[in-house]
Symmetry: C2
Subunit: 536 residues, 2 copies
């Protein structure tokens, strides 16, 4: 405790010195050298080691692989940016110390090739610890843990003001509370260029997100280039420059894998499919007025066998391009008006003895789930909550994605889904596209996915959550600022311990994280009045 | 009418062709070649003239001056960007025509040196008109009108798809409905770098704004470098890198003048002044608890003569740097608690026979207005509405800036201010910092500054309005996307005729304007799902 309180005193001293060197009245004064998301355990002492960029190297002591080597190169560039223009006047209260030149990377088991649900993300960091003075190391039993540790290490470095850095003697033991920590992007409402998706993956990596949920197509446009059905994008994309080819997808999957991030595509059906019909005639339901087709189209037509032939061929291709075990099948917001208007649908329902439109929707979903389960890749699937709410029979490893409701309604849904034995993800309180004036992150931070009445077994079925940035009013011009640092708030809720839930305690650390995002070159928006080194 | 309906038919044809060449289902299909803000009169015919960048020149036929020459150079670069990568597949329905090589600039009176309230901004554009076939010209009686005409002309050019452009035979007669069309930036809550302020001036110029209201200092920071009181910024700015020197201010004023934009600084007192006290001890009121100063500070202390000596010296300097006739003196949101707690304030009120704190505020303002009126520059002043609401005696040329209220309250304020004979500006419905989810621009468009019960004389005292972007949650990372294209909506309300008030009619033109902003390299955010040429 003694060293901890001494560390706190040093922290406060650094803050005081910073205040004297600068003026103005900021909303929140940022912390210095705190890790975000907050580790499970992070202790430091007052002694420091100094780091000189041209003398610092990573030394791999045990297992290695190309993915790990690429990560080490990447983090050297992050930790020691070529651009040294950032003012470090704030950190003039430095304490010099012994040099830390060789930082050990101890991966204690063979690398794995790709990230997956429930992968091990534990890591430990030891810097100048009593049992190993002068030594710095990250220890992990998986390459994913090493990645998480590298990010935390990069956040411990404090600029000394002369081009060098220092770190406090530190011990961190860390692992995530939840296994599925996702961010959803929407490339149908607006096309997002490849470099913007990669920028998002870099930002996610900084925040220890490990799933990119790619809502790739929807009513408005179909940018996914299918080789089996090329007309889907030639007719459904905004234009030929706004598409994702199989090479593009492989590029994104590779970029994400390198950062320990899974890529889960969502092909949302049977609703949200208007653009699918542009290149696939007869796929969508023709709507009728007064006995004749009226030129409008509704959800996918569940009454035709050609529909299921199409889905099988498409998803065979999709799953060959996206290697994750899971596929998101959507299943939300299916409007019934067009089905109701259609004579052929009515006839089909009579033939099949389906008496409700909800039942028809379930019939479609059941056929789709059966197709997906029988694919060569034998995928598990994620579905939006409606599919569960409508009592469709789901495979036991289905992940139910809750996106609606708040308060009691939300708690009841979490309880019902987990009581039925399904894994679940929460997004309801994390629709970041719902912007509003002023400080809006407190509800994101205070939303807890395990806040419902249930057994421990039920609670353990909550595998995590996802922050969503729906794209109706978002494209490359405002995606980054609108997402960050608000998505950092969700990242901490999903990584850190449930007890780390005080917004007033988090605020100075979040301010530091926002400045860190900015200093690394990302246009994360402000949290309140003040300044960051890189806001010029 | 015949040519007008033919023009409409051509427009529709171009739209149809564009739809066939691209896919997807956009929220709004943009117009092609419409001017924003909508001119008072804009008629076109179906014949076109073609424009080749390397053969197009401006020919000045009458008056000229360096400001005009710089504008012509600037608009050549805007009209014919070196970067020709933008896809013009949308405009493949081109109609080729005679070449337009020499465009006449007819300034019919001598240039003026700087913009001012009620300057003439009329202009006419004639391209291939019946009375002058094959000729293109802008005619105006002021250089400010030429500037507005150049912007409109730049919006008429339609890319032909092969690096050249075409324009329809066109006649425009245009002038603004309101003389004061302003945008307020806040550089106290967050410092805005010089290049960002200049970027805003360029965007304002594209939208025919003619006033930059620079809310330069406030509670949080004091970036204005005063040579008479250097401690104001050395102690009150965020740091020494986040200041505006007299050279910086001259640079901004010059940049704005070149674009026909006035720069009106606001030094808001007696409230909103916390940062002033950091470098000017004894300026602010010391607050008291239980008979002793408690370390907190309130508004400027109105009881000391040193206060007025300070204000006189400061504003003498301020007005020497900002050449506009008007100065914004603020006067809003003065909290009384600190004054109430102060024994010396109480004593002063007794001495002066001031019986209310509202009266004390008015005493201060009256002293300030007297100082400003007696400056060598004999400025007029703008004040926030509280100063009027508190019955302070105001000079007859005062502009009262209304920022509070809506509905009946707002209409009553507009009516009261104009009934008292004062010019007024409206901002109440145009606080663009108040963001919300989804399409939020309709209320901005539908807000009319002359929507109140009053005589024609009263209505004519409404000189215009200002869109405001308060900076508590805004800095260089999100300023542009948060401001544009929403500020374009206010720009049209302030320029175009009152009858141009249909959001459904405006929406496709606004979509075109948003794409135009993006194509010129500005990160204006989306209005709804879809795409623009430059959104990659």
């Amino acid at each position: 405790m003694k060293s901890w309180s001494r560390a706190v005193l040093v922290c406060m001293l650094v803050h005081v010195i910073r205040e004297v060197l600068s003026g103005g009245h900021p909303y929140i004064v940022p912390t210095v050298g705190q890790v975000w998301p907050k580790p499970q355990m992070h202790v430091s002492q007052t002694s420091t080691l100094s780091i000189s960029p041209d003398q610092f190297t990573f030394t791999v002591t045990d297992e290695t692989c190309p993915l790990l080597q690429r990560a080490l190169d990447r983090y050297l560039a992050i930790m020691f940016p070529a651009n040294k223009q950032l003012s470090t006047a704030r950190h003039a209260g430095r304490v010099s110390g012994k040099a830390l030149t060789s930082f050990q990377i101890r991966l204690m088991a063979a690398c794995e090739g790709a990230p997956y649900l429930h992968m091990d993300e534990h890591y430990e960091i030891k810097i100048d610890s009593p049992d190993e003075p002068g030594v710095g190391s990250i220890v992990a039993v998986s390459v994913w843990g090493i990645l998480r540790g590298l990010e935390s290490l990069s956040q411990l470095l404090i600029p000394a003001g002369d081009g060098t850095y220092f770190v406090y003697a530190t011990q961190i033991m860390d692992f995530p509370r939840f296994s599925h920590r996702g961010f959803m992007i929407d490339t149908a409402r607006h096309f997002l260029p490849m470099n913007k998706i990669k920028e998002m993956l870099d930002l996610m990596s900084m925040n220890k997100y490990n799933v990119l949920h790619w809502h790739i197509v929807d009513d408005q446009s179909f940018p996914y280039v299918s080789d089996v059905y090329p007309d889907l994008s030639t007719m459904g994309a905004w234009d030929s420059n706004r598409v994702y080819t199989s090479a593009d997808i492989a590029d994104i999957v590779s970029y994400a894998t390198d950062r320990g991030i899974r890529v889960i595509p969502e092909f949302d059906t049977p609703g949200h499919t208007r653009s699918w019909g542009d290149g696939q005639p007869d796929l969508l339901t023709e709507c009728y007025t007064n006995g004749s087709p009226n030129g409008l189209y509704g959800p996918i037509d569940p009454s035709k066998e050609t529909t299921y032939d199409f889905l099988k061929a498409l998803f065979t291709e999709v799953t060959s391009r996206f290697p994750d075990h899971y596929l998101h099948l959507g299943g939300d917001e299916v409007p019934f008006a067009c089905w109701i208007s259609s004579p052929s649908i009515s006839e089909f329902m009579v033939q099949q003895n389906i008496t409700t439109y909800s039942g028809l929707e379930s019939y479609y979903i059941a056929r789709l789930l059966d197709i997906v389960a029988n694919l060569p890749t034998a995928n598990g699937y994620m579905v939006w909550q409606e599919v569960f709410d409508n009592n469709v029979t789901l495979a036991s490893d289905t992940v139910v994605h809750i996106w609606k409701g708040s308060g009691d309604d939300l708690e009841n849904e979490l309880s019902d889904v987990t009581a039925a034995g399904f894994s679940t993800l929460l997004s309801s309180c994390w629709y970041l596209n719902y912007i509003s004036y002023g400080t809006d992150w407190h509800p994101y931070y205070e939303c807890d996915p395990q806040n419902f009445n249930g057994t421990e077994a039920q609670k353990s079925l909550v595998v995590g959550g996802e922050a969503c940035m729906w794209g109706e009013w978002v494209d490359r011009t405002n995606l980054i600022a609108r997402t960050w640092p608000r998505a950092s708030v969700v990242a901490e809720r999903l990584w850190s311990d449930a007890s780390v839930n005080s917004t007033s305690e988090a605020a100075p650390r979040l301010e530091e994280m926002r400045c860190r995002l900015l200093n690394r070159g990302y246009d994360a928006e402000p949290l309140g009045w003040g300044y960051c080194d890189a806001d010029l």
